[in-house]
């Protein structure tokens, strides 16, 4: 009897601990999100979106330049990263399916997903900023695109693999060439999955700071010129939060709030699509 009791006590202690662990995880989420929410909402106002920054230490001003810059950088990163990623994933799942090269690239892409983003920033600095002669928005977009490609590539590969092979055979039987089968049958079958992958990859890069530090740099004025340094929310948050002015801190919180909400919405939408489509 003693032994059974001991086992039961040991069991309930261990299970209590794991329950506590789960709630600890929940606690951090609420703590961080709550903090961003409370500080962010307080600092949120219309000026933030329609004004450009005031000079250092002067109250007021906004972050219009950073919002627009962030959108531009992310947009172009998506325009570069998504086609390359989707096509690459197509190759792995279709033309090279089951071949060694597909497996190698797939593993390498998995590794690339987690490679330190700051290293990619240094790479782009040497490859694209130094030769051009100045920091520029394109460099930032390309750095983000490099992070994006493996993410999109892997999800595309997985999603295309989920499309039943018989579907392709049916199309082949009608005499369709492979590219037509892929673009008109396979892509259609995997569209939601690929879209989710794209959404999640945008969410992933939209919050990146490190690769932008020495590529798109920063700009205190409103600019849509991608050949020049361009402001981004994340780099601005880094500068403002590390800075000493209270007005900067407030704006950093507001920017943090906006970007967090944006990313969480993307993430949740992606999850919901998966849940709805692949239940």
């Amino acid at each position: 009897m003693m032994r059974v009791q001991k086992r039961k006590i040991e069991g309930s202690i261990a299970l209590t601990f794991s329950t506590l662990a789960a709630f600890l995880g929940l606690f951090w989420l609420i703590f961080i999100l709550g903090d961003v929410l409370v500080h962010g909402v307080k600092a949120l106002n219309l000026d933030l979106f329609i004004n450009d920054p005031a000079p250092a230490g002067v109250e007021g001003g906004g972050l219009k330049n950073a919002f627009v810059g962030q959108l531009l950088i992310t947009l172009f990163a998506t325009l570069i990263g998504v086609p390359v990623g989707v096509l690459g994933g197509t190759f792995l799942a279709e033309y090279a399916r089951g071949r060694k090269i597909a497996r190698v690239i797939s593993v390498l892409a998995d590794i690339m997903v987690s490679v330190p983003s700051i290293v990619i920033g240094t790479f782009i600095y040497a490859a694209l900023v130094k030769p051009v002669g100045h920091f520029n928005g394109w460099a930032g977009s390309l750095a983000l695109a490099i992070i994006m490609v493996p993410v999109v590539l892997r999800t595309t590969e997985d999603m295309l693999s989920l499309v039943p092979w018989t579907l392709r055979e049916a199309a082949f039987a009608l005499g369709a060439p492979y590219y037509k089968v892929i673009t008109q049958v396979v892509y259609r079958g995997a569209a939601t999955g690929i879209l989710t992958g794209i959404l999640l990859s945008i969410a992933r890069v939209a919050g990146e700071t490190a690769p932008l530090l020495f590529t798109s740099f920063n700009n205190s004025f409103f600019s849509v010129n991608m050949n020049q340094p361009i402001s981004s929310l994340t780099v601005t948050i880094f500068q403002y939060a590390m800075g000493p002015y209270d007005s900067w801190h407030e704006q950093a919180w507001a920017a943090a709030f906006v970007i967090t909400i944006f990313i969480l919405i993307l993430t949740i939408t992606g999850r919901l699509i998966i849940k709805w489509r692949y239940r």
Binding site: L79, G133, H134, G137, N218, V224, N225, P244
Partner: protein
């Protein structure tokens, strides 16, 4: 497929827009020391002329590097480049404004300007020899002040910084132990403490860390209401940082255009001179003629119209004689 086409169309429509120079932009980067005044000038200049002067405070080291590798239109540094380096890298250099570096502390019950230090105690604190605020060497200088029996947290600059250059130049000049153990430069190996990025970072860390001491440009200390200290100068007087003591130090300087205006203002001999004053410099790439003309135009405008703004932020505008020398220097190099 049609959607893709549409997307490409949008892309194509956006492309020229994103390449076009919507407004004229001058890109500068470097010292954080003069960032408040440059950004204030740029803000006004933009209103008057529409020209955008994008100045990013990445540190003096960065300023020198970015202009040397030609990634910006002008660099800014508080650590003047030596005449031989200017020639070697094919650069031009001139001062823009004068300011002071001040030690700032975060102590409860102490107000700005109350704490008194001399070169030796400051040096020993930054060397880690003086570990507590209650150390006799500190309390001796501060008769009436109640200092806590707490450990001192030193805050320094982690990035290549002209503020550090001016500060360490002063310590190396006045304190042999510092010269021997650490030396002077834009980025030195500090024996103790934590490193903040930029004047902003140091100000922020000092503000958030009790019983800390750091060094920042005076405008940062003032705007953030940090407890700046008094210092004993070369003449043996305790002086408060401020416009008067900075200009007193500035007046002792004799800038020489032939040397790219290379000059230190630390440990100035004047009676009321602030001992850690310094000029901050603009560096141009010789061959970037068009960009240089734009930059020079901006600084010419600032020299004519920016003095009040600079004074508001407790920088010392350059004396008129020096401004004339700089204008002559611009003309000599075909920039004006």
């Amino acid at each position: 497929m049609r959607k893709l086409f549409l997307l490409l169309l949008v892309f194509a429509a956006l492309f020229p827009y994103t390449c076009a120079d919507a407004a004229q932009t001058i890109n500068g980067a470097g010292a954080t020391f003069p960032y408040p005044v440059y950004s204030a000038w740029a803000y006004d200049y933009n209103k008057v002329t529409g020209v955008q002067l994008n100045y990013q405070s990445i540190g003096s080291g960065g300023g020198v590097k970015q202009i040397s590798s030609r990634t910006v239109d002008f660099g800014a540094s508080d650590d003047p480049m030596r005449p031989e380096d200017i020639t070697k890298e094919k650069l031009l250099q001139f001062p823009a404004v004068i300011g002071g570096v001040v030690p700032v502390a975060n102590l409860a019950n102490v107000n700005p300007g109350q704490l008194k230090l001399d070169a030796d105690t400051l040096c020993k604190i930054f060397l880690g020899d003086i570990k507590k605020w209650s150390d006799a060497r500190v309390t001796k200088l501060n008769g009436g002040l109640k200092l806590p029996d707490s450990e001192i947290t030193v805050v320094y600059r982690s990035d290549g910084s002209g503020t550090t250059a001016i500060f360490t130049n002063y310590l190396a000049e006045t304190c042999p132990a510092w010269k021997e153990k650490v030396g002077a430069g834009k980025a030195v190996k500090f024996p103790v403490g934590i490193g903040g990025k930029g004047n902003e970072g140091v100000a922020n860390y000092v503000k958030r860390t009790a019983n800390s001491i750091g060094y920042v440009e005076f405008a940062y200390a003032k705007q953030n209401k940090l407890d700046y200290t008094q210092l004993k100068n070369k003449a043996g007087n305790f002086v408060e940082p401020g416009f008067e003591s900075f200009s007193d130090a500035a007046e002792t300087g004799d800038f020489d255009a032939k040397k790219g205006f290379y000059l230190w203002l630390t440990n100035a001999p004047g009676k009321q001179s602030w001992p850690i004053a310094g000029a901050t410099f603009i560096i141009l790439a010789k061959e970037k003629t068009d960009a240089n003309k734009q930059t020079v135009k901006f600084f010419d405008w600032a020299f004519n119209n920016g003095d009040t703004k600079a004074k508001d932020l407790v920088y010392v505008p350059l004396p008129k004689s020096l401004k004339d020398k700089i204008r002559a220097y611009w003309k000599a190099n075909g920039l004006q």
